[in-house]
């Protein structure tokens, strides 16, 4: 599904290299987790995949289902099936959540040459998906993320993911700022989307999210590279003894 080869990324002003030869392969149907200490480049990876400005790729390649991702604009990446659940979802005053969701869904459909979704069908769909995430009508009517609590913002990200049905989902520290109940809701939302033709990349600091979203593979990222990969037990090891042991091991 997602193939990252020898990816080198620096800040656009050339001041600082962040990713230093990252390799990662996430096959369809799987859930991969990336863990790593602060500053290892996890969020940069998420942003670079989604196409945020401010970074320069100096080497390497990224492909999504065989398509070169790096040459696409962010909206084309989304239409190609990529979705990033933001660590800090953005507030957009004056744009209602409903208008946002419908505009996004129809923009993607249009880009893929599919017919736009009609108002009744859209309403039915959004109500159904929102209900599962405990998102009420008021939250749908309000401006995107404005005045939302931390938990509401994260649930809103998962609602967008559920509506857009992407093929490759990247979750950037979706567990940060969540209480146990909210985390369970978010995890349920993610698990409901698990499918043979869909893959997940879950970026997290903590093992606890991975109790709810069981990963197939766990990667440890340090200083812009994957330094170790393993099964779910790797996350437990991090939880118990921190990154120090692993760092020593790979040094």
């Amino acid at each position: 599904m997602l193939e990252i080869t020898n990816l080198h990324v620096e800040l656009e002003d050339g001041s600082k290299p962040i990713l230093k030869g990252l390799d990662l392969s996430v096959p369809a149907g799987s859930v991969h987790a990336i863990m790593g200490p602060n500053g290892s480049g996890k969020s940069t990876l998420a942003y670079v995949l989604a196409g945020r400005e401010g970074y320069r790729v100096t080497e390497g390649s990224v492909s999504l289902m065989g398509q070169d991702l790096l040459e696409l604009e962010p909206e084309a990446r989304a239409a190609a099936g990529l979705f990033l659940a933001f660590q800090y979802p953005v507030e957009i005053p004056g744009v209602s959540n409903m208008v946002f969701l419908r505009t996004a869904l129809n923009a993607q459909r249009k880009a893929r040459g599919e017919p736009e979704i009609g108002a009744p069908e859209f309403l039915r769909l959004v109500r159904e998906k929102a209900k599962a995430l405990n998102i009420d009508g008021d939250m749908l009517k309000r401006a995107v993320n404005v005045g939302f609590s931390g938990g509401e913002k994260k649930r809103n990200e998962i609602l967008q993911m559920a509506m857009l049905e992407p093929r490759m989902c990247i979750l950037d520290e979706t567990d940060s700022g969540l209480d146990v109940d909210a985390m369970r809701l978010v995890a349920q939302g993610v698990n409901a989307l698990r499918a043979p033709d869909r893959a997940f990349l879950v970026i997290t600091h903590y093992q606890r999210l991975l109790d709810h979203i069981r990963p197939d593979v766990v990667h440890i990222m340090v200083d812009g590279r994957i330094v170790k990969s393993g099964g779910p037990e790797l996350a437990l090891q991090v939880e118990q003894s921190g990154y120090a042991d692993i760092l020593r091991e790979v040094a």
Binding site: A50, G51, E75, A79, V90, G94, V95, A107
Partner: protein, 428 residues
């Protein structure tokens, strides 16, 4: 004193270009004469004047206007879908043929020329009166010119609740038309009225409105100033509010080489409320100026100014807004917001927000900002598959929504929103 002479010559030339109408009643003639004298005494503005620092008055001073090309209509008229009483002006001249019969319950509508030829005491108390009071603290010579010379307009008196809006539609049919339009509006105590205005009116428009709202009365004023690119306009609204009355005004401006909208709102009765809002979008040869003075002259009144401008390709937006709180106006609640959204580095937004407070128990705040489209929000929207242009338009409409939300009737706001969407779609 070459400067003073030049100002007077300019005023005299404008007066000569617009002969005062004949056949009016004595009181009207006196009001006209007094306005002439006021204008000659103050003269026309000079670009150095503080009050005209951001807007060059040259296009308004020249005796005849610069030509303005006509826009071929490519969409339904603004407010065209709503049940309303429509009065039509063609290049500033009232057209009975194109207008609805001026009859409606709760309302008396007359032509300005009829009223000025007879003796109607309330009109007499209004015509030229609010304008002359409004010459302090700053001169508004083009309003004096309007009092001295404007021959057409309507005189509207709301005597009770009115079942549907009155819509004044201004058609622009001649590339060289120079229109002076004067309206008088009185809302009796407890009465209410929605007044719509739409269209460019002329190559150059000088429109002045004097409005008196009685105790407990309400006027909703919604206007859209037309899309003709080369037109120029100066408008004045002088509004006086009585106890517990409400004035809500919204103006949408799209295009136009020069637009200056001056509003002077006086809250003279306790508990009155005035909201003055505006949204404009300009591309290229576009200069738009909102000059607003809200005077709190009674206790417990509330006022709100919300003005937003979207500018690109060298367009200019100006905001001069002031809240003046007189000593007796305790418990005033005043608010003022002006914001410019710049779509490139060639455009400019010039703001002069002012508060002048002479009472000690008041709540007044103002804010003014200028900036570009929020790149973080733009990335968020595009990351969901929305194309950059579309995402930008979504953010622009969101930016303009605050003044649009000041329109009480959501249907009218929605009509204007679709105009803005189309305007944005055309600029690609």
């Amino acid at each position: 004193m070459a400067e003073a002479a030049r100002r007077q010559e300019g005023a005299a030339a404008l007066l000569a270009a617009h002969p005062a109408p004949a056949g009016e009643a004595g009181w009207a003639r006196e009001a006209r004469e007094a306005a002439r004298a006021r204008l000659l005494a103050m003269g026309v503005p000079a670009p150095r004047d503080e009050y005209w620092r951001f807007t060059d008055p040259a296009g308004l001073i020249r005796p005849s206007p610069q030509d303005a090309a006509l826009l071929t209509p490519d969409e339904k008229p603004v407010f065209g879908d709503f049940d309303r009483l429509q009065l039509v002006f063609v290049d500033g001249v009232f057209s009975p043929e194109l207008s609805d019969p001026p009859e409606m319950t709760g309302l008396v509508i007359q032509r300005l020329d009829e009223v000025l030829a007879t003796d109607i005491h309330w009109a007499r108390d209004l015509f030229g009166q609010l304008e002359s009071r409004g010459q302090e603290p700053v001169a508004r010579p083009f309003a004096a010119l309007n009092t001295a010379c404007a021959a057409t307009g309507v005189v509207i008196r709301a005597t009770g609740p009115t079942p549907k809006p009155v819509s004044l539609r201004y058609l622009h049919r001649s590339t060289s038309s120079d229109a002076l339009i004067r309206h008088l509006v009185r809302v009796d105590p407890g009465a209410s009225l929605t007044l719509m205005e739409s269209g460019p009116a002329a190559a150059r428009l000088n429109l002045c409105m004097e409005v008196e709202i009685g105790a407990g009365g309400r006027l909703d004023h919604v206007r859209a100033q037309g899309r003709d690119h080369e037109r120029q306009a100066i408008t004045h609204a002088f509004v006086r509010l009585g106890q517990g009355s409400v004035y809500k005004s919204f103006t949408l401006t799209m295009n136009g080489r020069l637009t200056r909208n001056e509003q002077l709102v006086e809250l003279t009765g306790p508990g009155a409320s005035a909201h003055v809002a505006g949204a404009c979008v300009g591309d290229g040869d576009f200069h738009h100026d909102d000059t607003v003075l809200v005077i709190h002259d009674a206790p417990g009144c509330e006022s709100r100014q919300v003005f937003k401008k979207v500018l690109r390709n060298g367009a200019t937006g100006v905001f001069q807004g002031k809240i003046l709180v007189r000593p007796d106006a305790q418990n005033t609640d005043g608010y003022q917001l002006s914001q410019g959204l710049m779509l490139d580095e060639d455009s400019q937004f010039l703001a002069k927000p002012e508060l002048e407070i002479h009472a000690d128990d008041v709540k007044c705040s103002h804010g003014s900002t200028v900036g570009g489209v929020d790149e973080t929000a733009l990335f968020y929207l595009t990351s969901r598959g929305i194309a950059r242009n579309e995402a930008e338009n979504l953010l622009i409409l969101a930016f303009l929504d605050e003044p649009l939300a000041e329109i009480a009737d959501e249907r009218y706001a929605e009509d204007l929103r679709t105009r803005l969407q189309r305007w944005l779609a055309r600029r690609r």
